[in-house]
Symmetry: D2
Subunit: 343 residues, 4 copies
Amino acid sequence: MAQAADPPRQELLRRMNMATGGTSALVAMRKELTAHLRDEPALKSLDGDLKHLFASWFNRGFLELRRIDWQSPAALLDKLIAYEAVHEIQGWDDLRRRLAPDRRCFAFFHPALPGEPLIFVEVALVQGLAGAVQPLLVQDGDDDAARQRAQRADTAIFYSISNCQDGLRGVSFGNFLIKQVVEELKAELPHLTRFSTLSPVPGFRRWLTGALADAGEAETAALAELKTDGWWRDASRSEALRPWLMRHCATYLTRQVSSKPPIDPVARFHLGNGARLERINWLGNAAPRGIEESFGIMVNYLYDHGTIEANHETFAHDGTVVRSSDVDALLVARQRRESSASI
Amino acid sequence: MAQAADPPRQELLRRMNMATGGTSALVAMRKELTAHLRDEPALKSLDGDLKHLFASWFNRGFLELRRIDWQSPAALLDKLIAYEAVHEIQGWDDLRRRLAPDRRCFAFFHPALPGEPLIFVEVALVQGLAGAVQPLLVQDGDDDAARQRAQRADTAIFYSISNCQDGLRGVSFGNFLIKQVVEELKAELPHLTRFSTLSPVPGFRRWLTGALADAGEAETAALAELKTDGWWRDASRSEALRPWLMRHCATYLTRQVSSKPPIDPVARFHLGNGARLERINWLGNAAPRGIEESFGIMVNYLYDHGTIEANHETFAHDGTVVRSSDVDALLVARQRRESSASI
Amino acid sequence: MAQAADPPRQELLRRMNMATGGTSALVAMRKELTAHLRDEPALKSLDGDLKHLFASWFNRGFLELRRIDWQSPAALLDKLIAYEAVHEIQGWDDLRRRLAPDRRCFAFFHPALPGEPLIFVEVALVQGLAGAVQPLLVQDGDDDAARQRAQRADTAIFYSISNCQDGLRGVSFGNFLIKQVVEELKAELPHLTRFSTLSPVPGFRRWLTGALADAGEAETAALAELKTDGWWRDASRSEALRPWLMRHCATYLTRQVSSKPPIDPVARFHLGNGARLERINWLGNAAPRGIEESFGIMVNYLYDHGTIEANHETFAHDGTVVRSSDVDALLVARQRRESSASI
Amino acid sequence: MAQAADPPRQELLRRMNMATGGTSALVAMRKELTAHLRDEPALKSLDGDLKHLFASWFNRGFLELRRIDWQSPAALLDKLIAYEAVHEIQGWDDLRRRLAPDRRCFAFFHPALPGEPLIFVEVALVQGLAGAVQPLLVQDGDDDAARQRAQRADTAIFYSISNCQDGLRGVSFGNFLIKQVVEELKAELPHLTRFSTLSPVPGFRRWLTGALADAGEAETAALAELKTDGWWRDASRSEALRPWLMRHCATYLTRQVSSKPPIDPVARFHLGNGARLERINWLGNAAPRGIEESFGIMVNYLYDHGTIEANHETFAHDGTVVRSSDVDALLVARQRRESSASI
């Protein structure tokens, strides 16, 4: 039956793939399609066929992990600048800092798309669990000092993961990438003991605004305060908001996976991979986008080899979010607060 | 529906492919299966699923054509010796002759099976259309003379094509290989004007024996003669048989594709690719296997860029075998003979 | 005797070279020496020994020519930016323009200094003999248009040659580089018919000022005019100076090789290689350095395969500068002028 | 003075080296010279100039160490078969055994002679100090078993070193090769604790015959016995000769470096490198050449990182041969014997 159901269009697409540059043309075609899917629903099945084929062709077994550094071709580095989707790269000097000796960058490649990264991750080698991203993005230019920092580091912080190919939308690489990079780093730097992300919380502001739409006066006042410019630069104002926001963020991130509205997409990705919600960081990203999305809050998801499988099972089974005691403490604070009834 | 029909087993196989060495293990698994298919029909659908996946994964767009020569790794050359299926390679000295400067060897590789050829073809660069294979297999050891022969050659003879992976049985590479090698050779040696195989006729003896089972005395006597040892080394005996055998072979090779018993598998392959039945060669292969299969007869199938598309269409449309006037002449001789009623 | 004279210090240096990174360390050591040669003459013989060894080790037979383009490692491109000595590269965007599809860049490398260019040349593929450098340094960003220009080009302009290693001072690579790049370009782009430099005239102003120190009023006035700012941007002023300067420049460049002060170093290099003094270009380089050195004048030296050997012989034999009729015309104009006695 | 003494012929040779393939041609030229040196002494200075240049060009800092295994190009392996000078390689099957997973082969290459080994060494990974070579040359064909033996090995036995280029005669690579291979092996297989050669004693028979020319009856009888065929295959005869031969061999190998006739060339090489005379092995090589040269005796020279420098100094200073207590015991046996006055 599978045979019979195999649509002739898939066979046609397989034939198109045989031509020189065929894979690249098909990936570009699907990217092109995206813009028209809404208006021409007839294209949806073509899109589905392409996705089905790509999921088969871009099977993890066919991908090649490669480290990217300052010895990589300029044409490839150019693409990193273009594709970085989380913390924009501001030109070649910035790029060079991100490829310094205490940084690592890895990407997946497919043999039929030479020179084209499919997805890449940027890693900082640091001491302790980094809670703010700006310090990771600046770095003094001294390569020797950076090399020494790498030797002293105990923690690898995955601070940016970017998918590069719109045409491969829906074909998932991130989980494999993180886990294989963890293995690579362990082999290269045996003294690393902690592997964690430093991740955005893209859905927090939207959720909070909705959740508190009809809340009391205090909540409304706080939300209004958060709309003023620069509140986060004024220590007294920001400190006043901190416990309240941290509490709500912990609530937001620990809701069951089946909640409405749906849980944060970044959380879902890492929790689904088996990571643990490790720490919620106040003002981890004070860039405009960070403030806009999550009032500057950033989150560490910890990839711990020993528990990853169990975490994944727990999350997959009933949607329970595995979290550290730090996060639990924030939630308890919330409960206590709630019982004592004020913000 | 295609989605729904996609068997869960295929998904499982896709997951197995993600592991290191997964592709190689799956190809080996299908090879293993083969031996058990007859006894355990339940394995047939697993075999079918694997074939379906392999056809997708080993799409021509993912294959890499590579030239193989004396600079290739010994571990790879070792495999040529093992995999050669048409004219056995008798050790390293023989192999070296086949990779001499007036020979070419090309293979397809897949990125997930590094160092493992999928199929390879051996080519001799000669003057004129070679009709016998033994002269192609011996060669004086002088590389400079061979280089000069390559420069003077006007014809490329494809004298051996071998599939290497039993596990990829039924996934077809040969057509693409021949056509791409023709392009490679044209680019390297622009003075080549003719591209032809020198091919066996594996089904001829079996067909002839069957076709003449109830024939007259003369036919029976001829068949008996052909069972004696060494008839082909005795010029007078072999010349007496020649016109009769050549005629029958022309008949055998030009039967409609739908005939019973089916047409020769080698003929079907090349004719289906758009080649032309160019010449039938008397005693083209006097090795035991050649005598056994086809009384030593070998065939040239010509790949002519200008007519390949039309030939393919003709053959695909109604099974008509496109052939040269030489072959036609043999057939006419047959008709004349038949009307004048004797062998 | 040679054996006996081989100083023990050379043997010591040879031993230092055996260590990992030895060659690189010795080249760096000689660079370091340079600064101290004037004050400590005792270092001169060490400098001489190093130069002698380097001339042997960096024999042209051991150098590898490699094309540099946007696929080259960023770490290497970084060095081009640092080493470019003729027309400064203003960062990565400028560099990218210089490596566009209608540009070529080649460098010599030595196996013991991987990733370190010894010398590199930048080439522009154009139509006609380019006389001004600024148009070659700007370029629209469209790669396809550039590719088409490369296909239509009939002339390769060598507009910048930079030595990269101070420690290899006095070991000459430029002659070999130009000639081998000419061969590479001919092989890649057979429609190229002209290979020429576009070169500065670094000694012209100094020579002219000296030569006219005690000249008449008119000369003194002209020299004074040339010291004013922006004379070259004022068409009427610059046109008035043009014939006078062009004439003097032709005189400067065609003096015998043994003249005092010595002939222009760039001229000596190309003429010694067998190039012909082809054309003197008015305002070929209006950048500050070009105005400062040579009042903006630039020169084409033509590398013509058929005459290069004879030109070299002529120049080596009696210092005669082989030149085009265009240059001769400028000189004749001078003689006529001189006989009619005014500037 | 060095400059002045640099013969013009060397400059000419340097120019010849600039052409494509120049280095290769010059090395071939010196090889050619060798045959004529005796008859035409005028060629000696050309030979000397070439040797001087080669010593400079083939400085260890320019050589590249590469491992050779079954993945190496067949064209390179072909050369191993041709160049092996110590224990002849009997074709491809024998070669494959020497490149099995419990063997290692390394060679030096020079960038100007790609694909041409300069010198190579063959190593066996074993348990304990191997004293006989034949067991190292045969091996069962099972790669997995060989891999396990490599993992269990504590000793690397260097059993064959061959110079490949006659034209580089007198330019020494062996010392560097052994020491760098020791480093490579330590890095790959940290459980290796002993690095030793298993070496021939090419001058022993000649020396012994000379030394005992006028000795007593017993000696003469022993020498006569040693001329009979197959004495070494007869246990009783060979055991009778053993203590006497071992004693003499210990004497032969421990003579002062300045002795007449000169000490064994293989001993001089390894002792000069800083190795220790570790063990003298009875019937270590029963092949005809081994019997012929040294009555089958082979020797282990031990390369021990901690003492190599001191051993080298001792040997270089006064020619004292550093040896193990095992060797001393043989010598003491001799002295005791001598004082008790019999063979």
